[in-house]
Symmetry: C2
Subunit: 211 residues, 2 copies
């Protein structure tokens, strides 16, 4: 007999793949259970509803996202160093969840309410970046400006590059996810964010292992 | 008798609205012609096919986009000033075509090939930014780095903020499109891009009419 948690795991995997490919409306409970090799009632049994399964798919990305970003800040250094670490954490976290960019695009374009675990992670990460920018402005490592608007700029580069990678590849002929380019993209964005926010008391970039 | 160009115009408007709301697959020729108060054969008559109509919708955004961005560069100044002008042109162009962000999201998330007029405008704008960055590196107003990767970073902020505005509003409670915030968002991003790219010979920002 199969362990029930295996079924739950397979439902999450099948749902993530199908929601990413077909959207919330396009992926039926029948499609998901068939792909997961589960019976038609398994979604209700394990999650309660299709919507709750959808939220659970986002939770698997969103909850470790908060931890990952919070851990980046704990590495210390000036506030400017911590912002740079957050940018790297964004890239690495998104990269380790390759179905998230298409899932986020599907979600954004649907106009459906943002799943609560995702909304909560976004609020958490934005608040952390805003707080770090404000701390940097007090210590002088980050320039003046509205912390929230500066924070949205910080987020935009890793998120846009993750989400638009397939189009950039098709249109500009550059595969920003390729092993050759991946590190250079991250280094370029990290340096740009750093230079874009640096205040009068900014320290020089910390030496990193060569990319 | 109605003039045939009126029908063409109404088909473009109806298609833009429905493709933005329902996606390419979700908007049927029947839906589009009904909304445009045209007969069912009007799409074929005026455009040849549903796909050609879809491309024409993108062309209406993409062709003036190239002109708008090229005009920003003609204003002169250092290469760094010209990049800042391009960022403002991106914001203003997207803002004057409010259905483009949802249409672009739908397009991105569909995985369908990028409509040729859009792909061409993207290539044109990226090449213009890359060329301007390379010129700035030669004159010293823009720092060292791979021009293409720096260019993708330049594009990401206006595009992300346009496309993610509804989610930012819902999740962070800030309406970046509101009259109070709109100008401050543009000024913050323009200043961040400028600082992020400035080289050793960068001029101070040009004085602008107060926002």
């Amino acid at each position: 007999m199969r362990h029930p948690t295996d079924v739950r795991r397979r439902l999450l995997d099948a749902a993530r793949q199908l929601f990413a490919r077909d959207g919330y409306e396009g992926a039926s409970v029948r499609d998901i259970t068939r792909r997961a090799r589960a019976n038609l009632g398994a979604v209700t049994y394990h999650f309660g509803s299709k919507e709750a399964l959808y939220h659970a798919v986002f939770a698997e990305f969103a909850e470790p996202f908060k931890r990952h970003v919070a851990a980046a800040v704990e590495d210390g250094g000036s506030a400017l160093d911590r912002i740079e670490a957050i940018v790297r954490a964004f890239f690495h976290h998104i990269e380790s969840h390759p179905e998230m960019p298409p899932l986020l695009l599907r979600q954004l374009s649907s106009g459906r309410p943002v799943p609560p675990p995702m909304a909560e992670a976004m609020r958490y990460n934005v608040a952390l970046i805003v707080g770090t920018i404000a701390a940097g402005q007090r210590e002088g490592t980050i320039r003046a400006g509205e912390p929230l608007l500066l924070a949205l700029g910080v987020i935009s580069q890793p998120v846009y590059l993750a989400v638009a990678a397939p189009v950039i590849k098709r249109v500009a002929g550059v595969d920003t996810k390729s092993p050759e380019l991946r590190e250079r993209v991250i280094e370029t964005v990290a340096a740009t964010v750093r230079a874009g926010l640096a205040g009068p008391g900014a320290p020089p970039p910390r030496t990193r292992r060569s990319a």
